[in-house]
Symmetry: C2
Subunit: 548 residues, 2 copies
Amino acid sequence: IPFLQRKSLVVLKDWAGLWTDGRYFLQAADQLAGSGIELMKSGEPEVPTIGGFLAGHLPQGGALGFDGRTVSNSFAGTLTEALKEKQVTFACDKDLADAVWIDRPALSKEPVWELGCEYAGASREDKLARVREELAKKADVIVLTALDEIAWLLNLRGNDVQCTPVFLAFMKITAETAELFVHESILNADIQAKLAAAGVTLRPYEEIYAGISEVPAGQKLWIDSSYANYRIVQSVPEGVIVNDEASPVILMKSVKNATEMANMRQAHIKDGAALTRFMHWLKTTVGREPVTELSAAAKLEGFRQEMEHYVGPSFDPIVGYGSHGAIVHYEPTPETDAELKPQSLCLVDTGGHYLEGTTDVTRTFALGETTEEEKKAFTLVLKGHLNLGAAVFRQGLCGQNLDYLARSPLWEHGLDYNHGTGHGVGYLLSVHEGPQRIHWRITGAKTVPFEEGMITSNEPGVYLEGKFGIRHENLVLTRKGEMTEYGQMMYFENLTMVPFDLDGIDASLLTERERGLLNAYHKQVYETLAPLYSEEEKQWLADYTAAI
Amino acid sequence: IPFLQRKSLVVLKDWAGLWTDGRYFLQAADQLAGSGIELMKSGEPEVPTIGGFLAGHLPQGGALGFDGRTVSNSFAGTLTEALKEKQVTFACDKDLADAVWIDRPALSKEPVWELGCEYAGASREDKLARVREELAKKADVIVLTALDEIAWLLNLRGNDVQCTPVFLAFMKITAETAELFVHESILNADIQAKLAAAGVTLRPYEEIYAGISEVPAGQKLWIDSSYANYRIVQSVPEGVIVNDEASPVILMKSVKNATEMANMRQAHIKDGAALTRFMHWLKTTVGREPVTELSAAAKLEGFRQEMEHYVGPSFDPIVGYGSHGAIVHYEPTPETDAELKPQSLCLVDTGGHYLEGTTDVTRTFALGETTEEEKKAFTLVLKGHLNLGAAVFRQGLCGQNLDYLARSPLWEHGLDYNHGTGHGVGYLLSVHEGPQRIHWRITGAKTVPFEEGMITSNEPGVYLEGKFGIRHENLVLTRKGEMTEYGQMMYFENLTMVPFDLDGIDASLLTERERGLLNAYHKQVYETLAPLYSEEEKQWLADYTAAI
């Protein structure tokens, strides 16, 4: 699933607008219709940034209200810069949405559970020691504000965020202390004892701002002001020196250890077996029995639930039939639910959490007859996917160096897609994580080289508004290849094990090499999934993975 | 020819060392042998930077001497930073080398000549107006310190730097004034009159430092401190606000206008005809008559001199036979001059200046028998060259996004090369210019997208120490392709028109697409050069460009 970005609502006395990026233009236009809220297409040449817009519309010396706990410090910084000349002040200690959101649910306080070392591959004590090793090089105190970093560090999982098994918390760590700011009620006695044994002490969740203000003047505080919320940064006392850079946990958790790598392979085999069963059900049922986007999603969820150690979906399923496939983050609802007919394409982007890790996979299925235009687009996207997956490169390269591989077959035909080609994936954490990413655009801070153990999505696409959408997505594991006098060579290992629908392919558009890559992958899919399948299932699996 | 970097000599009372990068390790080790000067391999993990080394070896409060006119301000900045704690002072107004360099030549004062609008495509008045347009956005005064920028701006050429037709000068430009700091004697009366008519006034060359100190306090001065010498920057008066960024001329001159593009094509046709004649002479003469690296270089220079409007070589010729080919910047001298035998490979990297522009081309020739290892390396490098040359991409991409294309066939075999894949090329100026470049390494400041009109080298290589070197280099012109709803597509047009030696190719290593690219290029070479050739020449041209 391509990376999601913040959507922002701006409300003036006589106007309201929603800023969102290219992936939501179609969906937002649809959902905002009649609301009186204007769609502001971020990134389009004629659309101002939020800061630029406010600078043009707020009065001199005016006030801007937002909840400082829900606005990132970096975004607040862009507003400060844009509104400097207008001398606009911020009112950020009020939760304005709360006053009008009548049936708003309370903050989630779901129970936390332990992820054993057989899954995490390292103890929380070891992880804490690694963080302290990095801390010693740069600062006296570090505050962790990202929920997935805290969950990773403590080998704990929760259920406070939909589809992301994390729990609400902050952490403050020094060479000697480790304070977890958390609703104590969500930790059972066993976990509390284990945390105490690891030297982790508990404090109420809301005390984080006090916790920060306690850092003594003269000490160095490590905080990533681009991730932290505005109020966190505002709470730093005068005299404290801020080491403002990315948390060391980001890189640590992105580089999977040997246990996590082995587990991730297993999770993907189970997930591949489930999704390929779904593929067979879909291709043999549509046109015979009524199938809708929602019923198909439910069927797929059922196949996943049959798998051992399945925890739940890693994001809301995207099942987009026909023109719905062209809406990058389309999620079917009862209002939009379309019936699948034996023609055109159906884009299915889903993923699951297992104790053995997290999956994120997109397949586009040909239902009955497909047009030449559909097959051509399907195949061009597949070429890019195959070429990127087969990259061999020297250690030190970043996603920016490789993105061309995925897009060039499209560019050669004047096509492109409006999202990144790849994002990192957490281990039973967020399906989107950094620091690595695959996109051609070079933005200084985000050029992190691929390291062995990183798991990244490979997901080029094409979206023709009103017609269809195509995306082919595997997760790939970065591996070390040959070490030569010229450096350490690297390559990607495919984790995802699901056939690409041969019915969508125009084989005449594939080069000999691409055909070889596809056949080799399909051979591997067959050999990997066959042991899990009945004799009957093996038959259609063989068809789906036949060499072309 | 790959981009050259500064080499630095550091002399202590009892030690001396030369810092140089990977492209000179072999040559420097050879030339320094017995001199007592240590080779410091820049970039190798165990080798300190010059700043780091000095920080470890200079005494507290010591002094470091260098000529401030010959050390860039940016390099001096790294020294300031490294030597901060040691409180080392700089003595930079003495020319220390002068005291020991007995037969040092005087500063060059060669005559300047006019490059007509039929070659430059724009008048100096128009160019000055464009610079002032950019200046108005950012500052009150701009000082140009790069010789090629001044020559480009004034449509003048000179002969003060070997192989680069520029003249010694500085410029200081405001909205109303344009001062050229130059030895007046090198400008004839006609040029002086034309400069006066364009509003350019003359001042003595040495007065530039005074000229800078005259900038009034409160004014904004645009100067690129990373290009300017240390003394220039030290001359900026207090109270002057420095706009420290790249000169606007860099991008202007890199984007060739329509006249320059058309001329560059012509220069490359003439140059291709000369080099292909040389190719035929070389392949039919070696083994029959004595040929050495130097005599071959002289022969090639002779072929170029037969061409109309030939000005001279654009850099010292590299003719490296056998193991000499593995030395990236090898230039044959009477001491090293090797005889060419009918076996192994000969790397020939040369270029010419014509009134119609500048060429830079490398071909590697198979002389008689070649080994399998040689053919394999030759073909792998060719694959990368062909794939990069055939890139189609969306406007906005930089060289960092495309470098993978040139290197991946090597990486797949554990090989690589220790230099950039491409550099910009000036129009009858420096054979190396920015701002675009092709290398995978992302260094924030240098990520400039390809624009239509940029001319860039495409020159992957492989160098096996003690054995042979291979490089295939064409210049390519960035062109606009299709404009679609997804953006402006771009591609490269090959300017260089010289066959790749088919005798070096192992065709079994080429994909169908690569073979097609090679054959299409060779067809174009034949059709382009044939009209310049006699019937007899056309025969071997047809052989050299035959489809495989």
